[in-house]
């Protein structure tokens, strides 16, 4: 039973790491109704800029963080000016295609500026088990994962306040629903987009730092976005809370599935059909299958808004 709880806790904590990336997607979606394909590239760019600045100027963590944040804010403003402003009131698919182009551009520019070397990022927190929990309960809980969960919790709280209690947050929803109508009632669309992309840059920086500290800062950081997709489908594209709950469900279910399902299925196939097959490695697609099932049952996700169109 201990092992089951270990897998479950590990999965939940891994899910929090997926949620961190998913939060960036949610922000952009809430502001523009567009799925930001470039979020993974932003995570990569932010982490690479952070370690690049540290390396080049010998900056400490607290020195590199605001500078990188500045870069991400400038990027957000730049994206609004160059990419989004000319596309106001265009179909959402056009905006989506623009983010695909943006993703490749950011990946390329990050590598041109900072190079392709794999870099170590030390946040001063080792990915090690917490001794006291290990000794008393024989349960493996990582210090690093717990810290990441705390950071995610703080981010969610801040973003929840931002969306629900501020004028900008309320304006965001209007912008997402209809650009032209939002402009007509005096919502400053350009500023809203610039702010949201900057906040998404901040979230990308936090996610990039945590993923980079775990795996090294390298191109593979762009792939973490793939883990966020099923999280968004489950939680709902417009919900900050959904990103967290979706992450927890995806993390826990994919880990439990990977550990228990292949053995059970192999045993079943061998017993009933005399087929010997190794089914391990389902983790890569299990979350997507789960998301597909959710799409069939609840297309808007657990916490997403149900849209009703008049025809």
């Amino acid at each position: 039973m201990n092992f089951f709880f270990e897998v479950l806790i590990g999965g939940l904590l891994a899910g929090v790491m997926y949620s961190l990336v998913a939060l960036g997607f949610v922000l952009i979606y809430k502001a523009s109704g567009v799925f930001n394909f470039a979020q993974g590239a932003m995570v990569f760019l932010a982490a690479l800029t952070f370690v690049g600045l540290q390396e080049k100027f010998g900056l400490p963590l607290w020195g590199a963080f605001p500078l990188t944040l500045g870069v991400m804010v400038l990027l957000g403003i730049g994206i609004e000016r160059v990419v989004l402003r000319p596309l106001v009131n265009q179909p959402q698919i056009t905006l989506f295609m623009a983010t695909i182009g943006l993703a490749f551009f950011l990946e390329g520019i990050a590598q041109i500026v900072w190079g392709t070397d794999v870099r170590r990022l030390d946040l001063g927190l080792q990915d090690e088990p917490i001794e006291s929990i290990m000794t008393n309960f024989n349960l493996l809980v990582s210090k690093f994962d717990l810290a990441a969960a705390f950071v995610a919790g703080v981010l969610v709280a801040v973003l929840a306040v931002f969306f629900n209690k501020t004028r900008i947050g309320r304006a965001l929803r209007a912008v997402a629903d209809d650009h032209q109508a939002a402009l007509a009632v005096g919502i400053p669309l350009k500023q809203i987009w610039a702010i949201v992309w900057s906040v998404a840059g901040f979230v990308a920086l936090v996610a990039g730092l945590l993923w980079g500290a775990r795996n090294g800062v390298q191109f593979a950081l762009t792939f973490v976005a793939l883990k966020a997709l099923p999280v968004l489908i489950l939680g709902g594209f417009e919900s900050v809370l959904g990103a967290i709950v979706g992450g927890l469900i995806v993390g826990a279910s994919e880990k439990l599935a990977e550990v228990y399902l292949p053995a059970l299925m192999s045993e079943f196939l061998l017993k009933h059909y005399d087929i010997s097959i190794n089914l391990a490695g389902i983790e890569g697609w299990f979350a997507y299958m789960l998301a597909l099932v959710f799409l069939l049952v609840r297309p808007e996700g657990l916490f997403g808004e149900r849209h009703i169109d008049r025809v």
């Binding site: 794999v118 795996n215 593979a220 391990a280 890569g284």
Partner: protein
């Protein structure tokens, strides 16, 4: 809108005009042109930058120090594949027509690209040098005359690792009853050692559990919890890219000792260990070549290339993959030299280079003369054996550098050879190939 259109048309016209003034390729008349399907960006860009950096630095050094090979200067062009099979094929097609003598030999540096261009290379008569990767059964040159898994193949690595573990356990006999996990990249590359490890487990009596890691391998919680529950004596890491660093980090997280982990040679470079930080200390990895700058050939490159500002990234010099890239270039150059012995001191074709590789013999004396000393094992290629060595060496990460942890050694070469011949014969039957050696 009109302004946009005018700008766009102007831009296209400008680019077309600029392109028309550029040379068709980097090769110059009378040189030995080498086509390089490389990658320096993308998910494995760091690995490619080190390997192909060493490769081109060596070629530059041959031109600077020796004036080429017997007076024939080397020229080369690199095409970016981003480690993508489709782009690899595109680059291959582009490079094969760049020179009258073809691209000399292609180093795909990707098992996937190797598989994708294998049949094309036979038709085009272009040798493929797959140094420590690609199809293992291509070691049988009677069936695969155009493919050279030079030095050692994946099965040499797998059996070498088992032998190394056996030595650490006090002898192969002590492996009986031990538990070994193969943690592998869930791809053709990761599945390559399965048959030989299963055979070894049966032969030596150890328990083998194979755990796949889905691409790209940046999250391995469930795999390592299974390892923690299974409590193996050793873990063999068959990783690539981010998977290797993540494995080391997650091993630390679950408290598995890194001194009981042995990687293959694609999971054993500074790129993997630096990214993992302190979690990598104590980790072993097999190697095709030694790391470090303490070899005369490296000094020659520093003096003749870097000192003149013609080198690549200086901080990569002496790293595992940079040295491996340099070794790959040296094998290509020596194959050209060998081919020139038979066909004359002029640029040689792919077909002639193929003969050169198949008759290549680099003993310890020749390695020393080339400045490689013990960085590589002696090499003797033949039609039957396109590997030429089959040896492997182990190194251990100290926290700052790789230190040698063994001498050159062979795994179960009898078992490997038997399995290679069986697999190659099966391939020959499927493809209707009549195995044999060209004269």
């Amino acid at each position: 809108m009109q302004t946009w259109k005018r700008t766009l048309i102007g831009l296209v016209a400008g680019l077309a005009a600029a392109a028309s003034t550029l040379p068709a390729s980097a090769q110059q008349a009378g040189t030995q042109f080498i086509g390089i399907t490389g990658y320096r960006v993308g998910p494995y860009g760091a690995n490619g930058a080190a390997f192909f950096g060493g490769f081109t630095d060596y070629l530059a050094m041959i031109n600077e120090r020796d004036g080429g090979v017997n007076g024939v200067k080397l020229s080369w062009e690199e095409c970016e594949t981003e480690y993508n099979n489709a782009k690899g094929v595109e680059c291959y097609e582009r490079l094969k027509t760049k020179s009258a003598t073809g691209p000399t030999a292609i180093h795909p540096m990707s098992t996937g690209i190797t598989y994708a261009i294998l049949d094309k290379a036979v038709t085009d008569k272009i040798p493929l040098i797959t140094l420590g990767y690609g199809r293992t059964d291509a070691t049988d040159g009677r069936v695969f005359p155009w493919v050279f898994p030079i030095l050692s193949n994946y099965w040499d690595a797998a059996t070498g690792i088992v032998k190394f573990i056996g030595e650490k356990e006090g002898g192969a006999a002590n492996l009986k009853g031990k538990k070994i996990v193969l943690l592998y990249h869930d791809s053709a590359y990761g599945k390559e050692p399965h048959p030989v490890l299963e055979a070894e487990a049966k032969k030596l009596g150890f328990e083998l559990k194979m755990i796949p890691v889905p691409h790209p391998g940046n999250e391995q919680q469930s795999q390592w919890l299974q390892i923690r529950q299974y409590q193996p004596n050793w873990v063999i890491l068959w990783g690539w890219g981010v998977m290797s660093a993540t494995a080391l980090q997650t091993a630390q997280k679950v408290g598995f000792p890194r001194e009981k982990m042995v990687g293959n040679w694609w999971a054993g470079s500074e790129i993997d260990t630096v990214a993992a930080g302190p979690a990598a200390t104590g980790y072993y990895a097999a190697s095709l070549n030694l790391a470090g700058k303490g070899f005369p050939v490296v000094k020659d490159i520093e003096d003749k290339v870097y000192a003149k500002g013609k080198g690549g990234d200086a901080k990569l010099v002496g790293t595992v993959l940079w040295n491996r890239g340099m070794a790959a270039a040296m094998i290509t150059v020596e194959a050209v030299r060998k081919a020139q012995e038979k066909y004359g001191k002029k640029p040689v074709s792919g077909e002639q280079v193929r003969w050169g590789i198949e008759n290549l013999k680099l003993d310890a004396g020749r390695m020393k003369a080339l400045g490689f000393n013990t960085m590589l094992p002696p090499l003797e290629v033949s039609c039957q054996d396109h590997g030429g060595s089959g040896q492997v060496r182990f190194q251990q990460w100290t926290g700052t550098e790789w230190k040698s942890a063994s001498d050159w050694m062979r795994g179960d070469s009898v078992l490997v050879r038997k399995m290679i011949e069986e697999s190659a014969a099966k391939y020959a039957a499927e493809k209707g190939i009549k195995p044999g050696c060209a004269s």
